[in-house]
Symmetry: C2
Subunit: 221 residues, 2 copies
């Protein structure tokens, strides 16, 4: 049963946001997507996202927030720094751009307001990457309040993946009928290789181990 | 007595932020300023700000956040819309860019973090312009929490003008020894005329009536 409202989805063309996109299509009458360009190494990510949005028949916009890479050097935007998501205890992985999600979601809210949309969907999860403070549930709830105060609006931030591990994200994509689409057409790999990816970076390892875990579970039911 | 800490001041070269700048110089050991460029009609505002910062011997940086004018049309950034700060009951003045202060302050916090600064000073006030939700004390406090959660930091947002009316802002500038500097070198006017300004726009009227009120008070003491 669809709500009669519209939703704006933060969409990068990865496994998580593609699952969120189809979750939104399932739950809202009208769905729009926005993708962020911020000087990331792998700008083909944007073309992957565009192709998925076209196939899903939803609107697709790209917002340039490259200012953010002027503000903080890190490995996702600075090609001279090696990727390394293994992090020392008590510190953040060096792919972390401090405040990145906060900037993105604030722009999304401004955009949503101009479209008359109050539902915003983001694929953040605190289950696998608790190292990112701006992916945590408490942050999202605080941000929701702050956005509503900032604009006198009633935005609702939806985080369908917040409490799911990667295996459960695969399960959700299967329930939504997009298991194969996620497997074959999304881009999660830090080295910019779609579908199964390089198989070696932390994003690929997480995606693969989640997939194996889900397939094991499915076989044993 | 100065604290031993540094502060980053949101600085536009207007009466309010100039007063905040000197308040910060009075209260912190080291002061930095940041000015926002967002496609506003009156870009000479930036040169006015730069000159004041140079005179005050503080660092000055300009951040381009012009993306914000792609997101919402309004009279401050769109020359085809007439300035009109008189607002109908229950609506916002049309100079309002929804979420503008939230975007600015989030960028300032990201910048402050890269400089190792936790004190952020902004001239927002809910006394004269309660029409702007993102100038209100409740919003600022909520934003402070959200920023700290987003970045696992301990930012302190300082709003020395929050509860002052324009007359009291003049009084503060007098106490700080910058009454004449504010009178002669700041730019508040919506029509881009420094010092006394055009005398007709709402910003000039507010500045002028505050000045008269303060001078009356001062004379009668």
């Amino acid at each position: 049963m669809k709500e009669k409202e519209s939703a704006l989805v933060c969409f990068s063309g990865g496994q998580d946001s593609t699952t969120c996109l189809y979750w939104a299509i399932e739950n809202f009458a009208s769905v729009h997507t926005v993708c962020f360009s911020y000087g990331q190494k792998h700008s083909q990510e944007i073309e992957v996202a565009r192709a998925i949005a076209q196939k899903a028949n939803v609107s697709f916009e790209v917002l340039d927030v490259s200012l953010i890479s002027q503000l903080a050097d890190n490995s996702l935007t600075n090609p001279t720094i090696a990727m390394d998501e293994t992090k020392p205890e008590d510190s953040l992985p060096n792919t972390f751009v401090p405040g990145r999600n906060m900037v993105f979601l604030t722009f999304v809210a401004i955009m949503a307001r101009t479209k008359g949309i109050r539902n915003i969907v983001t694929g953040v999860s605190e289950t696998d990457f608790s190292g990112y403070p701006d992916c945590r549930d408490t942050f999202i709830r605080s941000l929701n309040v702050t956005l509503n105060l900032a604009m006198e609006e009633h935005f609702i931030l939806h985080t369908p993946l917040m409490w799911l591990d990667k295996s459960e994200v695969w399960e959700l994509s299967d329930q939504l009928g997009i298991f194969e689409l996620v497997q074959n057409e999304t881009l999660t790999c830090y080295n910019g290789i779609p579908a199964q990816g390089c198989g070696k970076c932390p994003a690929c390892e997480l995606r693969q181990s989640g997939l194996e875990s889900y397939l094991n579970k499915k076989t044993n039911i």
